[in-house]
């Protein structure tokens, strides 16, 4: 029993590592299959305003750029070098904001994204599921139907339109919230009330837009899950036996309907490391999504790869964790 449990965990961890390995390998390969040569691009950029450059100096520059970008030798040698640097936590320099290392850029952006998305995803998920469960269980009540219609109206609005609407309404027409950024310019980052309140004020609109749309999806999903569960015999039986409604809702309805939603939450949390590109773009929020956006537009392969690697690892870990935790939520799933 104990052994089987251990074997299961080891197997799952290996599987997870395998996924990460394959994912990272693919992200390594893809830029090398594109016709764009970052070294040549850099050379072109540098020589653009110079009339002539000594060919020997040019050759030397090419070589040192190749070393810098990790583009020396055969693809296989590059690949080995890439893993070696990865294990030392070195993702190479960013090409667009050269010579700052990719790691530093990600490290400055990640807290903003994580803070914004972690809170808003969890709030949207909890609210959507709790209210969705109530609405599904009391589906014949008036308020439940009204809520359902509201969610159905809000949810299909394209996110970028909704976000712009919020921004225009609450930051421009009625300027309660700031238009852009993550904190007021001039306030110094630190654990003081000024800075924290500024962060909260700046984060409110992006968070609100994510919560509103995320809530609609979770609400509708949970409501239909619940309406399936309440037609199960064990619900009817508990009702006939006179088990109080709140207890049926908690222990019978939600416990069963929540199972697929838990998987959804784990995946969403893993996706956080992708950043929320549209949110961060609309609200000029300095997170991973915004970073990725600028990286793509400036052809910054190093940075794109760095972000991709982070998100591969995060999603794979999220799946691993949910796999290991799932038997706690659903006794029918056994670790085997």
């Amino acid at each position: 029993m104990k052994n089987a449990f251990l074997r299961y965990i080891i197997l799952r961890v290996l599987q997870c590592l395998m996924v990460i390995f394959v994912g990272i390998t693919v992200t390594f390969m893809i830029p090398r299959f594109t016709p764009v040569d970052p070294v040549e691009q850099a050379i072109t950029r540098m020589t653009m305003f110079q009339q002539s450059t000594h060919p020997e100096a040019l050759e030397e520059m090419r070589a040192s750029l190749a070393t810098l970008y990790g583009l020396e030798g055969s693809v296989f040698e590059q690949y080995l070098g890439f893993w070696g640097r990865l294990f030392r936590g070195d993702l190479g320099p960013s090409l667009s904001s050269f010579p700052r290392p990719v790691m530093t850029l990600i490290r400055t952006s990640l807290p903003w994204t994580a803070g914004l998305l972690l809170t808003s995803t969890i709030i949207a998920w909890s609210l959507g599921n709790i209210i969705g469960a109530f609405a599904g269980y009391f589906h014949h009540k008036k308020w439940s139907q009204v809520l359902g219609v509201m969610a159905l109206v809000v949810w299909p609005i394209p996110y970028y339109i909704f976000a712009f609407l919020l921004l225009v309404l609450l930051a421009y027409v009625i300027p309660i919230f700031p238009l852009s950024g993550a904190f007021a310019i001039g306030s110094s980052p630190g654990l003081n009330w000024n800075f924290i309140s500024s962060v909260l004020r700046h984060g409110f609109l992006p968070a609100l837009s994510i919560v509103a749309i995320g809530f609609g999806g979770q609400f509708l999903g949970m409501r239909s899950l619940v309406s399936n569960v309440i037609s199960e015999d064990y619900i009817l039986y508990a009702e006939i036996a006179g088990v109080p409604n709140h207890r049926i809702l908690k222990n019978y309805v939600i416990r069963n309907a929540l199972l697929p939603q838990i998987t959804g939450l784990a995946l969403q949390l893993g996706m956080i490391f992708n950043g929320a590109m549209i949110t961060e773009f609309v609200f000029s929020y300095p997170g991973i999504g915004y970073l990725a956006y600028t990286a793509i537009f400036s052809g910054d392969f190093g940075l794109i790869m760095g972000i991709a690697i982070f998100s591969i690892v995060a999603v794979a870990l999220a799946v691993l964790i949910i796999d290991l935790l799932y038997p706690v939520f659903d006794p029918r799933v056994k670790l085997r």
Partner: protein, 329 residues
């Protein structure tokens, strides 16, 4: 008397695209069920058996509607009209006085909760559990008394076999030793060996506590084995009631006769005759006696009038003009 059903009519009303349909699942049922007996209700599929027993349990959810009649329970020498109860009184009545074993009891247990937790939920709906340990011991004793292995208490439903789940459902229904147990097809999904065990369990509980069991099943062999009296239901009505020997040996209603004669007998190799036709739609039942389109003895009066329930002897009642032709004429 344990319970009395008086002219009970329970219909399913629904309307689709403005067209209202009424399915008369239970249409004028009269029955008196005695204390300390196993009363069997037999009949084909879709004859209203499940609706009848569901109505008896007071589980009336739309589209099911009570159109008329009464269900009267005898609770501590007092007559209680089921449909006059408020929902809190109904809740108090259920499980303590009337327990209901659902059709398809295999899936009545919450898949994510241990069996003991379901026992706790069902018990706490009616009384406070002050001492968890004592309660656990009570459940253990109850389960052991019913001859189930003690492990079922801590198991999850998916770890139990179908027969075991059915037995757990019965244990769950009898935790308060209710005077009336309503059992809807408790053995239908089980193989015969397991069936025997489940039936024996029901029988033992009944013998021991002297309560009343209303057993609904289409399986005549089950009735022959466990029931004391049997009511035959056809198209929403009871057509014949009698002691189990009377029903099986002296069936009077042509429908009952067909049911009995279709049963195989050991040593008899002659082919069994089948009843021609299909049961009528309860949305649009035939006039008069509902069996007349399939009946070889049908007379003119059968097409016009509903036959009254007449008693022959020993409580053996039949609603049939042909069977009662001497008494009527």
């Amino acid at each position: 008397m344990a319970l009395k059903i008086e002219n009970l009519r329970a219909y399913y009303r629904s309307s689709e695209a403005g067209v209202a349909t009424v399915v008369r699942a239970v249409d004028g049922v009269n029955l008196t069920i005695k204390e300390n007996e196993i009363f069997g209700i037999a009949g084909e599929s879709s004859c209203g058996k499940t609706t009848l027993i569901r109505t008896l349990s007071g589980t009336i959810k739309p589209p099911l509607e009570i159109v008329g009649g009464r269900v009267v329970y005898d609770i501590k020498e007092k007559e209680v009209d089921l449909f006059s109860l408020r929902s809190s009184e109904m809740r108090a009545l259920r499980w303590k006085h009337v327990a209901y074993i659902l059709q398809g009891s295999m899936s009545v247990l919450n898949p994510v909760r241990r069996v003991i937790k379901t026992f706790e939920d069902f018990t706490e709906a009616h009384e406070r559990i002050t001492d968890r340990k004592a309660f656990r011991e009570k459940v253990n004793k109850h389960v052991l008394d019913l001859g189930l292995p003690i492990d079922v208490v801590t198991a999850y439903p998916h770890q139990l076999s179908g027969g075991m789940r059915q037995r757990v459902a019965i244990a769950l229904a009898t935790i308060f030793k209710p005077p009336v147990i309503l059992a809807d097809e408790p053995t239908t999904a089980l193989d015969v060996v397991v069936q025997r065990g489940v039936l024996q369990l029901l029988k033992d509980i009944q013998r021991e506590t002297g309560n009343t069991v209303v057993l609904v099943t289409h399986d005549m062999a089950v009735h022959a084995n466990v029931a004391d009296r049997v009511g035959i239901m056809y198209a929403g009505r009871i057509v014949e009631v009698g002691a189990v020997e009377d029903i099986f040996q002296r069936a009077r209603h042509p429908y009952t006769q067909h049911l009995i004669s279709s049963l195989p007998t050991i040593g008899d190799r002659t082919p069994r005759s089948a009843l021609p036709g299909a049961p009528p739609s309860l949305a649009n039942p035939p006039e008069g006696c509902r069996f007349h389109p399939r009946c070889e003895h049908a007379m003119d009066v059968c097409r016009r009038e509903v036959p009254p329930m007449l008693e022959e002897e020993n409580g053996h009642q039949t609603a049939c003009f042909w069977a009662n032709r001497e008494a009527v004429s």
